[in-house]
């Protein structure tokens, strides 16, 4: 649930980048970090192994500025993608207001994408969150790789996007689709604060 301070008119939202190992979750955050001016971001925190694999999480706080008179901030987290960090993923997912699922477009990674997506749904359910209503967008990363190595957006839709949520083709390493993905999830998360149904549930 987004944290809202009515007195000082501030909104803080937690967004988690989820997906299989090496799909590009940390790369998304690194790109965002590199684009945003110093005064609008905090330090990027990475709890990683010596080989730069995410061990616990990456974290990047962003100041979005004022929206409808509310100072709006985003907390961007990634989870470790490797299968054996299940407990860590559950912890990071706690209290998430929205999820970006970063899929690896390589054909040989399809099983890992599906397994991670199922893992996301199970973890959301375990925390009492309805996977069907949690704000979610998909990012099909590595679409810059040769055509014969990757699945098309339509093929990935067929495999993963059965909810018909917003999805974005991306090459996160070069920043393509990163901005659009962040805008997509921010819009879905904030939309909940603009709708009477969500406001009534707070």
């Amino acid at each position: 649930m987004s944290l809202v301070n009515y007195a000082s008119r501030e909104i803080t939202c937690k967004i988690v980048y989820y997906g299989p190992g090496r799909s590009g979750k940390t790369t998304n955050l690194h790109y965002v970090y590199g684009q945003v001016p110093e005064e609008r971001k905090g330090k990027m925190v990475s709890l990683a192994t010596q080989t730069d694999r995410t061990l616990f999480f990456d974290f990047l706080p962003l100041d979005l500025g004022t929206i409808s008179g509310f100072t709006t901030r985003l907390q961007l987290y990634t989870v470790p993608g490797q299968v054996y960090y299940q407990a860590t993923r559950k912890l990071v997912l706690q209290g998430a207001d929205g999820v970006v699922f970063v899929a690896d477009s390589q054909s040989r990674q399809l099983d890992e994408n599906i397994e991670s997506f199922q893992d996301l749904h199970a973890n959301l359910g375990n925390q009492g969150m309805d996977p069907r209503t949690v704000p979610l967008v998909l990012q099909y990363n590595k679409q810059d790789l040769p055509r014969d190595m990757i699945m098309s957006v339509d093929e990935l839709d067929e495999a993963l996007n059965f909810r018909g949520v917003p999805r974005f083709a991306a090459d996160a390493l070069h920043g393509i689709g990163v901005f659009e993905t962040l805008r997509g999830i921010a819009e879905l998360v904030l939309k909940r604060l603009a709708s009477p149904a969500e406001a009534g549930s707070r």
Partner: protein, 165 residues
């Protein structure tokens, strides 16, 4: 200077900071969302500290369960000049964590003493329910898109943004 996201946190947190004479105090939900803080100057730094504190506590709790069969209730770390204390409390909204940093002006015993008072106060506090009206305008997307575009340097006028931290 105390700043809070929930008004019911302000009085007990201020009393704790004054009595325990700590340098920093940060009250958060276990998910890393900030309830209130004292001692930090930038909002983004508060969020980073909150994320790390939530991570430390989650890790230590699981370590306690693994080694001792139950989670540790608090964590203490002594640095060269500053010391850190992290512990769990409960509010009508659910569990929360206090991260506090102190120096030679205070002591672990003093911090733990006043933390117990803070725990009691938070458990007994009355939580105000906010107005249920929608907060954001229907056309908030326009502002969101403009702000994000400026943040990423994709729109003219980036230099006109006023920092809000």
């Amino acid at each position: 200077m105390i700043s809070v996201a929930e008004p019911w946190v302000e009085a007990p947190l201020k009393r704790f900071v004054d009595d325990a004479r700590v340098t920093f105090a940060l009250l958060i939900y276990p998910s890393g969302q900030v309830l209130g803080q004292s001692g930090f100057s930038r909002a983004v730094e508060v969020m980073s500290a909150a994320a790390l504190a939530a991570g430390i506590y989650a890790t230590v709790r699981e370590l306690g369960r693994t080694l001792d069969g139950k989670g540790f209730r608090d964590v203490f770390h002594a640095g060269a000049k500053r010391r850190l204390y992290l512990a769990e409390a409960f509010t009508p909204r659910g569990p929360c964590l206090l991260l506090t940093v102190f120096d030679e002006q205070s002591s672990l015993g003093l911090v733990q003493l006043y933390f117990e008072e803070l725990r009691t106060a938070l458990a007994q506090t009355k939580v105000q329910v906010p107005d249920a009206a929608p907060m954001l305008d229907e056309n908030f997307e326009v502002e969101l898109n403009r702000n994000l575009a400026m943040l990423f340097g994709r729109a003219p006028g980036r230099r006109h943004i006023t920092p809000t931290s």
